[in-house]
């Protein structure tokens, strides 16, 4: 448990950095995460000027371009409030890679370091800062959790995700084989090496389905785009009208489970 959670110091205000993927492709997940935070009694501020953390260029070997985009984000969070990011890999970028990215720019490096300390991945914030206990109002349901690699290895998000799901009284969390293995997304990797990436997502979807879980949840929309995209493609190939592996961001799942008269 973090110092704040122990001492019961709950921040009254937080910033929300949605990430470009959530803003454009999974807006519902962003809205659900914000709603959940607000229901926990926190004022959520969404800086209008936000765009992207810069990770796509950074991991593709274009650090100069990443730096330009990252520099824009550095200025968005003037107050000393936590910055909540609903994606483990983008949170990891801002927390761990911004300081390196600006290593040769002392002023920005200092800003990046100050920001880094305030970055929280969404589930990490719920568990380790708020000590949030979900009250499960849904029926019996089995889900499987996928954690993105950088979220797992840089941020320990698999633990907080598991904890939150474990706290839901009527939810069983299934265990897939090769749980810690990458889904094969990797940003531009999926485009540059489609054969290998395709084999990886194929195996990942098989493992997830083999658990018999009703749905997959994840705290990373990049992985969801890949996993759900392949599962839907397979459904099309095999002529299924209903998705064989539905999935969503963990924020959406948690919100629905803790709302009155909730379904699954």
């Amino acid at each position: 448990m973090s110092e704040q959670a122990k001492t019961g110091q709950r921040p009254a205000d937080v910033y929300f950095f949605a990430t470009c993927v959530v803003d454009q492709f999974f807006p519902g997940a962003g809205l659900d995460a914000i709603t959940l935070l607000e229901r926990a009694g926190i004022r959520v501020h969404f800086p209008e000027e936000q765009t992207c953390c810069g990770q796509p260029a950074y991991t593709s070997g274009f650090p100069d371009e990443a730096r330009k985009v990252a520099a824009q984000q550095l200025t968005l969070f003037p107050n000393d409030w936590p910055v909540i990011v609903p994606s483990g890999s983008c949170a990891g970028m801002m927390k761990h890679h911004y300081p390196t990215l600006f290593a040769n720019d002392p002023a920005r490096k200092a800003q990046a370091e100050a920001l880094s300390a305030r970055i929280h991945e969404f589930t990490d914030f719920l568990v380790n800062v708020l000590g949030w206990q979900p009250e499960d109002k849904g029926g019996e349901c089995t889900v499987v959790l996928h954690t993105s690699c950088s979220a797992r290895r840089e941020m320990g998000v698999h633990l907080t995700g598991r904890k939150l799901l474990g706290d839901l009284a009527h939810v069983t969390v299934a265990q897939q084989d090769h749980e810690s293995e990458c889904c094969g997304f990797g940003g531009t990797f999926s485009i540059k090496q489609p054969e290998i990436s395709g084999a990886m997502v194929e195996d990942k979807v098989k493992s997830l389905k083999a658990t018999g879980a009703e749905r997959v949840v994840s705290a990373d929309c990049g992985c969801l785009m890949n996993i759900l995209g392949h599962a839907a493609w397979k459904d099309r190939q095999e002529g299924r009208a209903q998705p064989s592996l539905p999935g969503e961001h963990i924020a959406s799942f948690l919100l629905r489970r803790t709302e009155e008269r909730s379904g699954k």
Partner: protein, 476 residues
């Protein structure tokens, strides 16, 4: 810096080779099984996460400490080896290394060289050079022996024949070893190999080996192995030639035990290897066995290029345990041969560009999702994903003066750089970003259903009809 001519570009045809394995369910299954086995064995060796953590930190520190003093240590090593009666040779390129080794062979009119497992000898393609010079080179490590019989190259740095099933090995022995009937009994196969090799150890004029750690202060060469063939190679023939890269050096004997323990536990999940040899010179007058002459060839082959750059230098921390490949989801899908380099897997991706130049290896660094499994298990904490990003940058940036790497800019394509510049121009400007994403959400229906490589196994990507910022505004 070496200027080895490029005769083979592993980058070329990589995707095709990878696809061939990915499309073969049998190979997919067999690599998966083998890697699962190795991962389980390693995990059993490190039940205590904290102990592992501190051991890895120790391993990292030892390697960095020694690399920090590398030039001095090399001088010290040479002096102490010479004092122990071991001849030291320096080779900048594979060709030079081969010339040195063949020179030693010729001086002794050698006809047969028997080899212990040595990836550096694979790196310089010694077998090839020896055969061209009319000298037989026989692999004596069981895995290497199998690979040599099959006319192939190792597909893994620790388990050279991991891509072969026992049935394939049975057929190979039956066809290639005179007088052997087909058997797929593993023990029987090992006995067949041993019988053949035992005779050769006695006939050989030269024994060749690699080196796992060269100790500068004592002038000792340490060799880790499981089959005893390494000990045979380094003691039975009259001349022992060891070859290693210049980075495999430690200053003190006390640096060896922690690295050895990390090596065997990470590599094969063994507490300790069956054999651990410490070679400190040729046979002394009163001794009954051991070689009469011992040589060490120290190979650069691009290592000094990695050394010259603080970040790239971390590549040289490697102790060649192979754990990064065992845990790599890409290696698990495509196996070692697809890489086309002597060293496959994550370590291969970060070390090969120094050996072969980025011209030959530019696209290899893209064959990673940067999942970080390699960096997480590396016993000496090499930040492999970080190095892969660096290699991408070196390869895709426009060629410039005084590059840190040979072949810098080899993957440079002006239009790709232009795309990223355009991307940055949009994403650094809130108003352009808002415009672009608004257009995206409005005209999502215009998104093509064929989105190139993405849609080969996925449904097309489509922006949501409303962005999060729109939803927040509507909500008020």
């Amino acid at each position: 810096m070496n200027a080895q001519p490029i005769h083979f570009k592993p980058s070329e045809g990589f995707r095709g080779r990878a696809k061939a394995v990915v499309d073969n369910p049998f190979l997919r299954q067999s690599f998966r099984g083998a890697m699962d086995f190795l991962m389980t064995k390693r995990a059993a060796q490190f039940p205590d996460a904290e102990e592992l953590d501190s051991l890895r930190t120790l391993g990292e520190h030892i390697r960095q400490y020694n690399l920090g003093k590398l030039p001095d240590l090399l001088v010290q090593l040479e002096e102490n080896l010479a004092r122990n009666g071991i001849h030291v040779h320096w080779a900048e390129t594979p060709d030079e290394a081969n010339a040195i080794i063949l020179g030693i062979c010729q001086k002794h009119s050698a006809k047969l060289m028997v080899k212990g497992k040595s990836m550096v000898s694979e790196e310089i393609e010694l077998n090839h050079a020896a055969e061209a010079a009319g000298i037989g080179a026989l692999e004596s490590d069981m895995g290497e022996y199998i690979v040599q019989l099959a006319g192939e190259k190792p597909s893994h740095i620790i388990m050279p024949a991991i891509h072969k099933t026992k049935e394939e090995i049975a057929t190979l022995f039956h066809e290639k070893v005179p007088g052997v009937d087909y058997t797929d009994n593993v023990d029987a196969l090992i006995q067949i190999g041993r019988r053949v090799l035992r005779q050769k150890f006695l006939e050989a004029d030269i024994g060749l080996s690699g080196v796992n750690f060269a100790v500068a202060e004592t002038g000792t060469l340490c060799l880790v192995e499981n089959e005893g063939n390494g000990r045979m190679c380094t003691t039975a023939p009259p001349v022992h030639v060891a070859i290693t890269g210049i980075e495999k050096i430690v200053e003190k004997l006390e640096h060896v035990p922690p690295l050895l323990s990390l090596l065997t536990r990470s590599a094969t999940g063994q507490n300790i290897s069956t054999y651990f040899n410490m070679i400190s010179g040729p046979r002394k007058p009163h001794e009954k066995d051991g070689p009469q002459e011992v040589h060490l060839v120290l190979l650069d082959n691009g290592r000094s290029q990695a050394y010259a750059d603080d970040q790239l230098r971390k590549t040289l921390q490697c102790i060649r345990c192979g754990a990064c490949m065992n845990h790599c989801p890409v290696y698990t899908r495509i196996g070692g041969h697809a890489y086309g380099t002597t060293y496959p897997g994550p370590i291969g991706k970060i070390i090969s560009p120094h050996m072969l130049g980025l011209e030959a290896t530019a696209t290899m660094a893209t064959a990673s999702s940067l999942c970080g499994a390699c960096g997480e298990v590396c016993p000496v904490r090499i930040p492999i994903p970080e190095l892969l990003m660096r290699l991408r940058e070196e390869s895709f940036s426009a060629p410039h003066e005084n590059p840190a790497m040979r072949g810098q800019g080899a993957g440079y394509k002006p239009w790709v750089t232009a795309i990223w510049r355009g991307w940055a121009a949009v994403y650094r400007s809130p108003s352009l970003y808002r415009l672009a994403t608004w257009l995206g959400s409005r005209f999502a229906w215009l998104m093509p259903s064929n989105q190139g490589p993405w849609t080969t196994v996925r449904v097309p990507l489509k922006p949501a009809p409303k962005r999060l910022r729109d939803m927040l505004k509507e909500r008020g």
